[in-house]
Symmetry: none
Subunit: 266 residues, 2 copies
DNA sequence: AACGCAGTTCCGCTCAGCGGAACGGGCGGG
DNA sequence: CCCGCCCGTTCCGCTGAGCGGAACTGCGTT
């Protein structure tokens, strides 16, 4: 497997002095978030992050003190604690686009009877911050907070198409276009043509590019400064495929109204 | 004013050595979570937490490095970053209702020697997603996945009582209160009085409302967003009838603990 | 019993990080 | 327009917080 070291790319943009122990503690927290294992032991963490057991133990003690992790009394293994929910709730409260978008998403979900999502960008990735799911048995749910690349999927492409040219260029030249599924666009020229098309018609479509069996239609939400978020409607591939055009019209109309409310001037 | 040293009260429950800088960093994060202000400045944080500006700045730099906070480029003020969502999403995955509830249900079933069930809502209906049955000859088993109306039976009424008023109103006005058994409440006023009572005492009781010869005691499970599930204990009517009050106490206690673990804030 | 492997604790050395002070820049009032 | 104020940021030398190798404990397996 190709070794992708997450620590290499981060040192580049380090702006000033920072505190190593805090970053180590954050790394421990993210280890809980990344791994699919339900809990982690001290030695396990120490080996993965290549720091001493004593340090890991002290870090966990500190995090435990603040309820960011909890320890199972008998197995002595650690998991994330409820305090992270508290932080996430506060983060969501801050996002003003979220409050405004919620209404729009509810309307979209009701109109299409599919899942509506809200994504924001974080550097060269995007993540879902909210979703509204329809009341039906087979429906799509997305994973909130997890970063996804911008070149795979409708929401990502919508960001990529509408950020300013310099950022788009940076993304396309710096980041390899990894295939998330068999349908992901991995050829740069093909992707740029696709982005041109997205800009021309105002919305992006993905048929299984990020998630096999899922399709998505996405359009950008603008405020006065530019694209701040992307709203999508997504669902099972075969259910969405025949109604892409109508769905796109609904999404574009909804994001257009929302953009006006956020101070966008066309 | 009496000088309260913040380092004294925390050392009480400190189990081992911990790292001061990590706890300070956590305090900074929680400051963002607690205050109702949308963002915070360095000096502001330094004054509140009584640590030097330089330290606060280094902490923020470290947290920024890991996307736990973000800084507005022009105002130079800080807010929580998207990484907290990532942590919360992972926390939720670990402790999703189903996994967590299973443990609770097993305890409830063992304690009462009756069937414990977990229901989720699907629009204007609810369905069982899990059950734990006791090891005895005469016992109740429910049908998983089949939709039931919300106004008949303890689990349904528990949903109806604790969803927000708009949804409850929609259900009551749109849907005729069909009699599932002879004991189903079909009068709207009577049902609303019943729901008031359920909210007041925290649990719902059904004596043969949905299934003749069966009784059930149910209480809601909350996460940060509201009621996500309902847990019930159910069994043969005449066996459960004399112990409804004690059973209710057990269910309410179990769902209460579960709700806390799911991020419910009372 | 002896071993292995887990989490936890100990303790002395050392450099990470603290903090007072200086710096730069944006804003507002004189 | 200039000056003072207060903001965030950076500097730098001193020092004790915290690192880590090693010892300790307790559980489960050989």
């Amino acid at each position: 497997m190709t070794e992708v070291n997450s620590s290499t790319d981060r040192s580049a943009d380090a702006p000033g002095r920072s505190v190593a122990s805090i970053e180590r503690a954050a790394d421990v927290l993210f280890l809980f978030a990344q791994d699919d294992q339900p809990d982690l032991g001290v030695t396990e963490i120490a080996k993965t992050l290549e720091i001493s057991k004593a340090v890991v133990h002290r870090i966990l003690t500190s995090l435990r003190e603040r309820n960011l992790v909890v320890v199972d009394a008998e197995s002595r293994r650690y998991t994330l604690g409820p305090a992270v929910l508290q932080l996430a709730a506060a983060y969501r409260d801050r996002l003003d686009v979220r409050n405004l978008a919620m209404e729009t998403m509810q309307q979209l979900s009701a109109a299409t009877d599919e899942t509506a999502t809200l994504s924001v960008r974080n550097g060269t990735t995007r993540l879902y911050v909210d979703q509204v799911t329809p009341a039906r048995e087979v429906r799509m749910t997305v994973q909130l907070g997890q970063p996804f690349p911008l070149h795979a999927g409708a929401s990502g492409k919508a960001f990529l198409a509408f950020v300013d040219a310099a950022e788009r260029e940076a993304y396309l030249s710096e980041r390899p276009l990894e295939a998330v599924t068999d349908n992901t666009i991995t050829d740069r020229d093909a992707l740029e043509r696709e982005l041109d098309q997205i800009r021309a018609r105002g919305y992006a479509v993905s048929l299984g590019e990020r998630q096999v069996d899922a399709a998505s239609v996405a359009a950008p939400v603008f405020d006065a400064d530019g694209v701040t978020a992307v709203i999508s409607v997504c669902g099972p591939l075969e259910r969405l495929r025949p109604i892409v055009t109508e769905t796109a019209a609904a999404v574009v109309e909804a994001t257009g109204l929302l953009s006006v409310r956020l101070g966008h001037r066309a």
